[in-house]
Symmetry: C2
Subunit: 388 residues, 2 copies
Amino acid sequence: MSSSVIREILKVTQSPDVISFAGGLPAPELFPVEAVRQAASTVLDRYGAAALQYSTTEGHLPLRQWLAERAGITPDHVQIMTGSQQGLDLIGKMLIGEGDVVLVEAPTYLGALQSFNPYGPAYTQMATDEGGIDLDALEVQLAGLQQAGRSAKLLYCVPNFQNPTGRTLSLERRRRLVELTARFGVVVLEDDPYGSLRFTGEALPSLYELALGSCGGPDGSHVIYSGSFSKVLVPGLRDAWVQAAGPMIRKLVQAKQGADLHTPTFNQMIVTELVEEVMPAQIERVKALYGARAQTMMAQMKAHFPAGVSHTVPEGGMFLWVTLPESIDTTALLLKAVERRVAFVPGAPFFALGGGHNTLRLSFSSANDGQIGRGIEALGRTITEALG
Amino acid sequence: MSSSVIREILKVTQSPDVISFAGGLPAPELFPVEAVRQAASTVLDRYGAAALQYSTTEGHLPLRQWLAERAGITPDHVQIMTGSQQGLDLIGKMLIGEGDVVLVEAPTYLGALQSFNPYGPAYTQMATDEGGIDLDALEVQLAGLQQAGRSAKLLYCVPNFQNPTGRTLSLERRRRLVELTARFGVVVLEDDPYGSLRFTGEALPSLYELALGSCGGPDGSHVIYSGSFSKVLVPGLRDAWVQAAGPMIRKLVQAKQGADLHTPTFNQMIVTELVEEVMPAQIERVKALYGARAQTMMAQMKAHFPAGVSHTVPEGGMFLWVTLPESIDTTALLLKAVERRVAFVPGAPFFALGGGHNTLRLSFSSANDGQIGRGIEALGRTITEALG
């Protein structure tokens, strides 16, 4: 399996002399370490032993209330998860049976495939372009399934600053996606870990918000929203959540009970302490840094990458996507790049059904400007050399 | 489904004027709150942002090393889990296919059934008596399966102070269980959350230890061991682990990657701080308290329960199991008991294939002596009334 080969190669890149654009790590220099220390202490003062006791599967009520208020829904529509990865797993477990059609972007988030795979989905790739999912092509696919007497069980997508491409779905396409999936009876899983990290352009409503407006409120929504504190606070506490219709939340509660009983009580309480006082300023710092680093990376690519190489221009998030001439296989390129002490993730594993041999993902979140300069220069040389 | 009815009834019992022997909550008054506060701070001093960053799926290496050393194995045989419930889920996902035979005790831990159910097991109940699993009956079952050209995929059991019965499997039966399952090629999942909480009698080797000795070391073991910090430190950090053969651990790593990426970094580091300095004394305090409370409960049952009611005599853990005359249905009894402001869990849901209508589980871990006295007296009256 190619993805495990890549994992082996990427292990090498953990040595400190390799500049890695491979990982999806948030910049640790911005983590609010002192605020977490203070919040941990405050939580133990306020709740005592209850902060360390078993708690409800649904999650810490004040945190669910805060999330619900922000989204204009009630806590009954919010389930806390142990990282958004758990949401993907449990939604897969709840919805996907052996052979069920699951629509995913080409390319899509690799971790979602890892979550869904054990449940035996039959993936169908959705074509994408610079604006994300191609809605004309999707409508043809959905109609084709319907004519064949089938339907898609789930459509998974990352509308904001997608992992791996950094692309964002336009407002018009969002509206059409919500309408199309409602019409064809397809549940949508909207994965939105990066939505708050927009460093340029206008914020767009989530698919979930659009569905609330058009489908008769939170219990009529066919869109499930997955949010996370990993990229806007810290990832190491593993706190995330899902918003969905009440009946779906109740099934998720049952699934989560069997999966880990509940998300750590202490961690949920710490996050609750931070969402009001710490998170807003934290998000501003993160956006400023990532926006600057994305600019640096794109400038360096312009300076050092040969002709015939193109890349996406993300408006937020942590990733951009590079397309090389067809003659280049990026898995082979990675070996050469690692020799020059620079790393990326080849694009192929992000395609559920193959493709993308000449693509690669770069993360601009965790390398500093100097590293970006040296790393992109080294990568440019590697590509130039590979082109002959 | 009867278990959701029971859950609804038990929700009522969360009001403070109900004495609940229903939950499996560790005694919060013993939680080392100040030690956790100190450990959290120490961890942030020592690791800084790394304590809040993504970390490896396998788990925090110093914690895996500590666990491995104690068990005479290497960290390659240890996987950290987000609560032992996650271990049950991922082992179920890894091993159980639709229709596979899974052997469980009658009665067994309800949470294990919840974890396994989504994978479609065909449960076979193992008969039990005061000494736990009946090995003669099991040998007949295994031979019968073999003759039918089938085999059991997994045997799940709790050898120490079982949940729900409080029973402990004898050394002789442990040896025979390890030998039998090796001979018939059955993987054993040994769930041991309470093993350190023995308040009377001699400690016995785990099935895993016996398998290490008889099956050629840690990579030859057909026993998977599931351990937890929930009952010996605190449950709200959700830290547990699995010990298994290397190839099995590598599959579990992959399954866990799709399930929650990794257990919270911060929590694993906090637990690592506590295992040497805090946990040993903590275990002594917990054992002393639970041992005393078990004694109190048994004395009160002797004083207040009518003739024809029997109960197990646990040597550790948190639970004991009560068998009432056949004429009593404990689900109906629960409604009457709650009217008298006392709660328990009816026994029926702990049986994978039915049975146990006249049994119930009592937890002696979290009620104090006064509550135990009043609660058992009220329960005794409820039973007496129900008997005529």
